[in-house]
Structures are given as C-alpha cells and as structure tokens.
C-alpha cells in the first residue's frame, strides 16, 4: 500500500504580471526525506518554497501536507499549518531590533507565554547545540558574523521542533568550511527532529551533503527529479550543465534567448 507523501505539489502555477514563474510544478517529498531544489537564478525555486508555507498563494494547483490540501483553507488554517513549519531565509532574516535569545524563542514566546528566564535557557541550549557560545544570546544580529547569523537562523527554525523545515540557500555567502559546518548542523538537527526538509541551494557540494533527492526547476516546471546519487547520470543536458557548472550548454542558450526577448 503506497504511503501518503509528507509534501505533495500538483500542477502548481504562479505568475507575476505577465511573467509565468511557475507553470506546472509537480513534486512529492516523503516523510523524513531531504529534497533539494536546484535551478538557475530566477527560475522560481524561492517562489516554490514560499508557496509551500503560504507566503505566496499559487494561481492554480494543489499543495498537500500529509494528504490534506492547504490551499483555500483561510487564514486560521494557514496559521495552524505554519506552526508545523520552520524556515530559514537566504540572508537570515533575523529581527534586528531583538537580541538573539528573543529571535530564537520568538515563536515559543508567542505561543507558550514562556517566562524570560525559561526562554533564555531554551535559547542558550539551542545555540549551544549549534556550536555557539551561550553568551551570544545577549548579542544583537548585527554583532554576529554571517556564519553565526546562519546558525542563529537555524536555531530559530528548529527551536520549537517543527515537522517540516524549509531552507532557502542555507550556505550562500559563506566560505566553504563554514558552509560545510552549517550543512553538518542541518543534517544533525534534521536527524534529531526526524523532520522532512526542502532546501534551495546553488552550492553543489552542499547539495551532495544534505540531499536524499534532488529536483531541478527550469522554465517553470520540474525538469528532472531523482535520487542525489543519480544526479551525475541524469541524462538531462540542463542538469549536467548545472551540476558541473559549465559555461556552455542549454541553460546558457535559454538565458540568452530570454535576454533577447526582453531586449
């Protein structure tokens, strides 16, 4: 008997004005699986991710979590759904005006009315698990390096143990070593929580480390989706070009023809 996928997208489409960013996205992610979405800049990866937790509403299509449709359920249903998600953003999106402990326990404090002392304890324990010193919790985001901000963003995403984690370019802007550390922390945290994850990444080393499955978005559709081990032998020219970072190939031609069209 087939099991219900944790996340399922069917025929998801989204346009901004005349620009059809997503045309027909079909994806399935099993419970506990780590899917990484790859693709050229502007191909709609981030839009796909934002559709998943309702930050962007698709024009058509279906998105199911545990087999339950999440589109068209209203604001309250969406808020209930979001409690099951944790998300990190490309540039951290930490709240500048709040110290780290308030950033990390933001949702916990909103929902559980934690005391300040309890919230600080949780924040200190969470950041320590991610390799930061406990005193960091009294600092502000602007006082931290890029790598530390990424760790704090990860701490905020996992603090209340969500079932599904969404990562938008978790290693972008980091040196390879710090990027590797962040990947390791993500893998550890996800294993500890038993969470299902969807990650967007351009960093192929990171993709190979964290992905169980890889999907490539191109021209608003899923061009290829398969096991990470099959990525190098996909037989799809665009995937081959992207994975190996080749300057010449079909993706370059597509980009050029788009520029010609705009020109």
């Amino acid at each position: 008997m087939p099991t219900t996928p944790k996340i399922e997208l069917q025929g998801v489409a989204k346009s901004f004005g005349d620009n059809a960013v997503l045309k027909d996205i079909n994806l399935q992610v099993a419970a506990g699986e780590s899917l990484v979405v790859i693709g050229t800049s502007g191909c709609g990866k981030s839009v796909t991710l934002k559709c998943l937790n309702g930050l962007i509403t698709p024009d058509r299509g279906s998105i199911k979590i545990d087999g339950v449709e999440i589109l068209g359920g209203g604001r309250a249903a969406l808020e209930d759904l979001r409690r099951r998600f944790g998300m990190t953003f490309q540039f951290g999106a930490l709240f500048d005006s709040l110290p780290i402990w308030e950033n990390v326990t933001f949702r916990l404090r909103q929902q559980q009315k934690l005391s300040k002392a309890k919230a600080r304890d949780i924040a200190a324990a969470t950041v320590t698990d991610l390799g930061l010193a406990p005193h960091v919790i009294d600092q502000y985001p602007a006082e931290l390096s890029g790598g530390m901000q990424k760790r704090v963003a990860l701490a905020r995403a996992i603090a209340d143990k969500p079932e599904i984690l969404l990562f938008d370019e978790p290693t972008s802007g980091l040196d390879p070593i710090t990027g590797g550390v962040i990947d390791r922390l993500i893998i550890d945290a996800v294993q500890r929580l038993g969470a299902t994850t969807v990650t967007i990444s351009h960093d192929m080393a990171s993709v190979r480390r964290i992905a169980d499955k890889v999907a490539m978005v191109h021209n608003g559709v899923i061009l290829w989706c398969g096991d990470v081990k099959q990525m190098d032998n996909s037989g799809v020219a665009e995937v081959h070009q992207f994975v190996h970072g080749l300057a010449e190939g079909p993706l370059t031609q597509t980009a050029a023809s788009k520029q010609d069209g705009q020109g």
Binding site: E79, R82, F85, A93, F106, Q110
Partner: protein
C-alpha cells in the same frame, strides 16, 4: 488631446487606487489594535521613540516659534496700539494651530521616516516574511502598535510643546518687549479656553495617526533594495506632511466656532 485625457484618467485612477489601498490598510490595522494578542513591548518601544525621544525637537521648535510669534505680533499690533494682546495671540496661536502643526511636521520627519525605513528594511530583508512563518501577523505586530502609539503620544507631545511655546512667548514678552510678568501671564490665561487646547490635542491625535499610518504603509509596501527603502522613506514623510496640512484644515473647519 486624447493622450492628455488618458493621462488625466490614469492619474485619477492611480490616485483612487492608492486611496483605496491606504484605506484598506488602515482599516485592517485598526482592527488589529483591538484584537488580542497585544504586543505591549512593541507599543512601549514606539511610545518611547515617539513620545520621549521626539521631545527635544518638538520643544525646540515650539519654543522658538512662540518667541518669534511674540516678536512678530508685537510688531504688527503696535501699528494700531494693540500691543497688550500679544500674550493672547501667542497662546491662542500656539495651542490651536502652531503647536500641533509644527510638532506634527517635525514628528513626520523624524518618526514617519524612521518607521518607513525600519519596516521597509524588514520587508527587503525578508523579516516580514519571517514574522509570517513564525505564526505572527506582521500587521498586528508591526503596524497596530505604531498606529496606537502615534495616536496616543502626539497629543501629550503637543501639550508639552504648547507649554514650551507659550513660555517662549513669555520670555520674549517679558525680557525683550518689557511686559510686566504678572500682566503677561494673566493675559495669557484670560482668554484661553479649554476648547482651544482640546482642539489642538484632537488635531495632534489625528496627525499622530496619519504619521504612523504613512510610515507603516510606505515601509510595508517598500520596493526592493536600498533605493526602494529610500523612496518609501521619502514618500512617507511627504505624504504625512501633506495629509497633516489637509487634515489640519478639515479638523479646524469641523470645529469652526468652537
């Protein structure tokens, strides 16, 4: 000719569309002011920023306005031997008009810009999306406390500004123009009515609401990048200043004769 009419029509439609968006935005924000949970920490932070940290700039503005007003009205009224009305003119002008309008314009520059820049930066750095993902409504967390703080703080700010402005007139009247201090004070209070002060405070509440509304609205809908945030900041200050002047007339007309 046709293109001129088209442009006029497009401008009119854009204006109505923007008016509709701002109205909807304010209705939603007002609803969240009265809906729990209440973000008191945000409210107190804004209260401190608007009410306390704006005090020096408002105090200086009204102080020198009161001083100038005393000098100018003395110069004018001396031409028909009505110098003894200077104190009355100063207190009525400051409480009914200058206090709220000048404080409003100064706060629009200071707070309207800061709200638009802060919320705009949150928009372009995905912090507003992050609020959503953390099950917190951005309108309720960011906008509602600012609107409430703006509406409540400006009347207090203007009341203090009124006192300082009248004091400025007193300093010039007594130390520069040679009025007897007791007579100047009695003239100040003789024709002043409670309604003069309350009218100014009502205006201040309206201005405070409009400043916060424009700051939040333009920040919330900020374009991408530094340029987008810069434009949002400028738009917030300009639109708040214009709305202050328009609403000043409307409120004055509404309470005309009071």
């Amino acid at each position: 000719m046709l293109s001129f009419i088209q442009n006029m029509g497009r401008t009119a439609l854009n204006f109505l569309s923007a008016l509709g968006r701002i109205t909807l935005f304010s209705v939603v924000a007002i609803r969240w002011i009265f809906t729990p949970p209440y973000y008191w920490q945000q409210f107190f932070r804004q209260t401190l920023d608007i009410g306390y940290y704006s005090l020096p700039v408002v105090g200086l503005t009204t102080l020198f306005s009161g001083m100038v007003l005393a000098l100018q009205s003395y110069t004018g009224f001396a031409r028909f031997s009505a110098e003894d009305t200077v104190a009355t003119v100063v207190v009525l002008s400051v409480t009914r008009e200058l206090g709220p309008v000048l404080a409003g314009l100064m706060v629009a520059g200071r707070i309207g810009a800061s709200m638009a820049a802060e919320i705009g930066t949150m928009r372009v750095t995905d912090q507003i999306d992050a609020l959503d993902t953390l099950s917190t409504r951005p309108m309720q967390y960011l906008v509602a406390p600012r609107l409430l703080a703006g509406t409540l703080c400006l009347p207090f700010l203007v009341l203090i500004g009124d006192i300082i402005g009248v004091f400025g007139g007193y300093i010039v009247g007594v130390f520069r123009l040679g009025f007897n201090p007791a007579i100047y004070l009695s003239r100040t209070l003789e024709y002043l009515e409670i309604s003069d002060v309350t009218l100014g405070l009502i205006k201040a509440a309206v201005f405070g609401f409009l400043i916060a509304l424009m700051g939040c609205y333009h920040g919330y809908h900020s374009g991408r990048g530094a340029e987008g945030v810069g434009r949002a900041t400028t738009n917030a200050v300009v639109s708040a200043s214009i709305l202050i002047l328009i609403s000043n007339y409307l409120v004055t007309a509404l309470f005309f004769g009071v």
